[in-house]
């Protein structure tokens, strides 16, 4: 399946709604440290905003809630894979994105026949100040060779300036948090991303 090339990651339904109408077609809702009831409300709100604007919603981590709220897509880390009921997700038609950092995690992800595989952090990131080893562009190319038709999502430290290079290295989709969310004019910044993505296609 073809995924949109630009993939913002935001932490509220309000943010998802903000992206409606900008041309974004794929967005991830990543929320941490929030009570269950509020989570459900956020997921529901995000799903509604996406449905109204023709965007695909990916829910980070909370696969159970995503399943209940009938969201399109779930993004899981390797730790989440231990407890997620992938079969149940598949039965209902929820798509699966899996994050990877090394070969072993890639093998594990591929065994699940995911709908995308994410590799990160490509560059040093601001959000997670811990100095985990950046993957770099060469790893992106290696991952693309191994993934074949499965979409490759690059994530971590991506900026408008780095975007063309990331696509050239083999990423099908570029995920972004800080460069858009912390920009003084996010709507304008996201349109710039979409323009570069179009040119790189």
């Amino acid at each position: 399946m073809t995924l949109a090339r630009v993939y913002p990651i935001v932490d509220s339904a309000a943010w998802v709604a903000r992206l409606a109408g900008t041309g974004v077609r794929l967005v991830q809702l990543r929320i941490k440290d929030t009570p269950q009831a509020q989570l459900r409300a956020e997921i529901r709100g995000a799903r509604q905003a996406c449905a109204a604007a023709g965007m695909q919603l990916v829910v980070n981590d909370y696969w159970q809630l995503a399943l209940e709220e009938q969201c399109d897509f779930v993004h899981l880390g390797q730790g989440d894979l231990d407890s997620a009921d992938v079969a149940a997700l598949r039965r209902v038609g929820v798509r699966l994105g899996v994050s990877t950092h090394d070969h072993r995690e890639l093998e594990r992800a591929l065994a699940l026949r995911p709908d995308y595989v994410a590799l990160g952090p490509i560059y040093p990131t601001l959000l997670k100040a811990m100095p985990w080893q950046p993957q770099g562009l060469e790893r992106l190319s290696e991952w693309k060779r191994r993934l074949g038709a499965i979409p490759l999502v690059a994530i971590g430290g991506l900026t408008l300036e780095r975007l063309a290079g990331v696509y050239a290295a083999g990423a099908d989709v570029a995920a972004v948090v800080t460069d858009i969310v912390r920009n003084s004019q996010p709507e304008i910044r996201v349109r710039q991303w979409l323009t570069v993505a179009e040119a790189a296609a």
Partner: protein, 257 residues
């Protein structure tokens, strides 16, 4: 059993925690290595982020001993101050003392190292000095109060293995009763096995595991290699010869000519 400053350890593989691609990979590699000691460091932390706190929780959950390092220190003063800070934060007198002298090879400044060791041993630290195979430096470090030495295999992160076999062999022979831990530059498990076969007491590995294609599998492989090398040494290996000696007995061989 390995004894380091009174601590008894089953595992002779120590692991560094740097250069992993994610916390999950680090955790699994530590488990696969069956290590009981990991090295850690101190770095600047911004007030808003709690990355250091997160990392510290992760390490505590692993239930391993920490060996804080003075990585990046180029002077005696920096190293001593860093050691003080580490002792407070990690609540241990253990310190892997690094005083770096040269930025291409990251080799120790052995003069600064000996001086810093003298100061820190005097203050009650249990110092693990990252040193070369130089016998005179080793003597100075032991005189200063170190009871363990960590000679390099090769430059940090180089993956070259045991660079100076003769020097390392001489070091082992000169200090038969000092725990010697090969630290830095190992690339593959056979390097670790070789170090153990030479009689070294343990190895410390970081980049070779963290940067492997599959760090968890590599960690397990290193653990096996360290055990194999240690067991082989204890089992009394044959001496190498320059000529061949038949293994199959000559007596009773048929004459078929």
């Amino acid at each position: 059993m390995l004894e380091l400053y009174g601590a008894t350890l089953r595992s002779r593989l120590l692991l560094g925690t740097a250069r992993y691609s994610s916390p999950a990979v680090l955790k699994e590699a530590v488990a696969a290595a069956r290590t009981e000691v990991v090295t850690v460091s101190l770095r600047r932390e911004a007030g808003a982020e709690r990355a250091g706190q997160g990392f510290w929780s992760l390490i505590r959950e692993l239930g391993v001993r920490v060996l804080p390092n003075t990585a990046g220190c180029h002077s005696v003063k920096e190293a001593v101050t860093t050691a003080h800070m580490a002792r407070e934060v990690f609540a241990t007198p253990w310190v892997k003392l690094e005083v770096i002298g040269e930025d291409d090879t990251l080799q120790p400044d052995v003069f600064g190292l000996a001086e810093a060791a003298r100061i820190l041993c005097g203050e009650g630290f249990e110092v693990f000095p990252y040193t070369t195979e130089d016998l005179v430096v080793a003597e100075r470090l032991l005189t200063a109060g170190c009871r363990v030495l960590m000679p390099w295999g090769a430059p940090i992160g180089s993956g070259r293995g045991l660079n100076n076999l003769f020097g390392l062999g001489a070091l082992r022979a000169h200090f038969p009763h000092v725990p010697l831990i090969i630290d830095a530059g190992l690339g593959v498990p056979s390097h670790a096995a070789h170090a153990m076969e030479l009689g070294f007491d343990a190895v410390l590995v970081n980049t070779a595991v963290a940067q492997a294609g599959d760090p968890v599998a590599m960690a397990a492989a290193f653990a096996q290699a360290v055990e194999a090398g240690y067991a082989a040494r204890a089992a009394g290996p044959i001496e190498p010869k320059d000529f061949g000696t038949p293994s199959t007995p000559v007596i009773g061989q048929a004459f078929l000519g």
